[in-house]
Amino acid sequence: MLRSFKLLCLSVLIFALPSLASAVDVEDEKGTFSIEYTPKRIVVLELSFADALAAVGLGPIGIADDKEKSRVLPAVREAIGDWTSVGMRSQPSLEVIASLKPDLIIADIGRHEAVYEDLKKIAPTLMLRSRTETYEDNLAAAAIIGKVVNKNEAMQARLAKHHELMQSYKQTLTVSASFQFGVVNSDLLYLHTEDSYAAGVIKAMGLENAKTGAKDKAYLPVSLEQLLGVNPDYLIVGEYTQPNALSNWKKEPLWKILKSVKNDHISYVNPNTWSRCRGIMAAEQMAQDLVKILTI
């Protein structure tokens, strides 16, 4: 009798162990997030989370891509296959998310806190910070996502490879000059300040960011005169629209005395990659862009 009871206990333990072993606890913006299975159907509500999943070879079934698949970085698109658009990042369609029957949702505290309770009713929801994150924040978030999708080792390996890759790019760059990235639309140029994601990547490449004088602000709208005040050695611009504010500035005498213009150190990059995507692959693409800018 006792023996059979022991056997029973043992068999229960053996069956229970694997499920216990796969339970994961991580800290997210809402406290402790725990999940007891390996999620297979994941919906992400920011582009940076899709990047993190792609880094470990997983594809989300739904992305809040503003109904524009091209907003997802080409390298990420290649890695994840097709997905369903769940609407705008600012107002994702909860109906579509529910219809996908996800078993994990990854959301951004900055945009989706108001619907956190609703999202939780659909599937366990991991709340991370995406919209105002820095380069370091983004890598930390990727590490958390790696744990939650039960791919911790693969994620750590990918992050190690990322650091290696960034290091190798960094070694080719030995320029002591100031850099400034900004995006421009039809009326304004927004400089991405020292606190921004782009500046974090520039710094990780061993390059110096221009001093914008902004405090606690990731994005700073400037006029031509204010741009002249910052006067970076290299100006990197992402154009959201064409023609844009710069088209007019180029006709002004002030434009010609900018250091970057005088030395022909003004270059154009994809604003989506540099400003919207954020992520491991996005940072690598940005690093490649920087290498290209500085070696040509």
Partner: protein
């Protein structure tokens, strides 16, 4: 003009029909059977129907009705069909409070937004009251209210220009939307529903005020007190709605006006009827906003503005 009994029969049927339509259509269309099943917890559409579309539809009905009644009360007091709750500056005050909260405390929880907006809306009403007191004429009140609304509006623009980083979230809220609103928001609105019978009870007095203050006094009404109660009710209705959904433009203006054209200006009929018209308008606006380009959700306030602005212009020109 149609008879009241016909109007109420027709609008009830239409409202039931639209509510059912609103339950079955959206980014994902469901059959009638799926909708019925969706009310039970074991259905795969339980979230979509019971947790999402049902509270949202009910909220559209309640908010639409409250905004419309608020508009009818203000129009009754100011005695001008072009007046609306906007002339009290309540929605702009709420908007300013919300925008300030979002831009200067970007890391603060958005869960407090309704309370902040509510306080802003009520403060705006108190400021108006302090400026005008109880004895000023309706026209002075309206002009002061519009001036205050313009002031809050330009303050909102100023903040948005100085802090462009947070513009997206703020603009989204300022257009008025039912996205992501559910049972908790509906529950928090319930106590304010008490204002509806209070508003309806003012019908007779508002008819008398319509005859002019002198006649109203002769007929046994105290215009100043009625005005104060009506406006306070309108402020409560508007502020509580704006706190939940953001300022949904033009609803408080066009709903009562449309009702007046349909069944006339007697407040005993006008006030209850406008509840239906407001509810219908907002349910339609939200339905269109959800289904026009799924999965993109447009704000319902955008829809009401698209219908409301041309209607307002037509109104202005036809009044000449």
């Amino acid at each position: 003009m149609i008879t009241p009994s016909r109007f109420f029969l027709f609008s009830t049927l239409l409202l039931v029909f639209l509510a059912l339509t609103s339950l079955s259509f959206g980014a994902v269309s469901l059959s009638f059977l799926d909708v019925i099943n969706g009310f039970f917890e074991d259905s795969e559409h339980y979230f979509t129907i019971h947790e999402y579309r049902l509270p949202r539809t009910l909220l559209a009905i309640v908010v639409g009705a409250m905004m419309a009644l608020s508009g009818a009360l203000v129009q009754g007091v100011i005695r001008n069909p072009l007046a609306s709750p906007d002339v009290l500056g309540v929605s702009h005050g709420a908007g300013l409070a919300a925008v300030l909260y979002m831009t200067f405390l970007p890391d603060a929880s958005t869960n407090w937004l309704p309370e902040v907006a509510l306080v802003g809306g009520l403060l705006a009403a108190i400021v108006l009251w302090l400026l005008c007191g109880t004895s000023s004429s309706a026209i002075k009140l309206a002009i002061t209210g519009v001036a205050m609304a313009a002031l809050y509006g330009s303050a909102i623009d100023f903040v948005l220009l100085v802090k462009p980083l947070e513009v997206n979230n703020a603009l989204l809220w300022l257009t008025g939307s039912l996205w992501g609103r559910g049972w908790p928001q509906l529950t928090s609105l319930l106590p304010w529903l008490l204002l509806i019978p209070l508003g309806l009870g003012l019908a007779k007095h508002l008819n008398l005020i319509d005859l002019g203050d002198d006649s109203a006094v002769c007929l046994g009404t105290k215009p100043n007190i009625i005005r104060l109660i009506s406006l306070a009710t309108a402020v409560g209705l508007t502020a509580s709605c704006v706190a939940i959904c953001g300022p949904i433009g033009f609803l408080g203006l066009i709903a009562p006006h449309l009702t007046r054209r349909l069944i006339g200006g007697r407040h005993q009929v006008l006030l209850p009827a406008t509840l239906f018209v407001g509810a219908l308008l907002l349910v339609i606006a939200d339905l269109v906003a959800r289904t026009i380009n799924p999965p993109i959700e447009l704000p319902a306030g955008l829809m009401t503005a698209i219908i409301g602005a041309p209607y307002f212009l037509w109104l202005l020109f036809s009044l000449r």
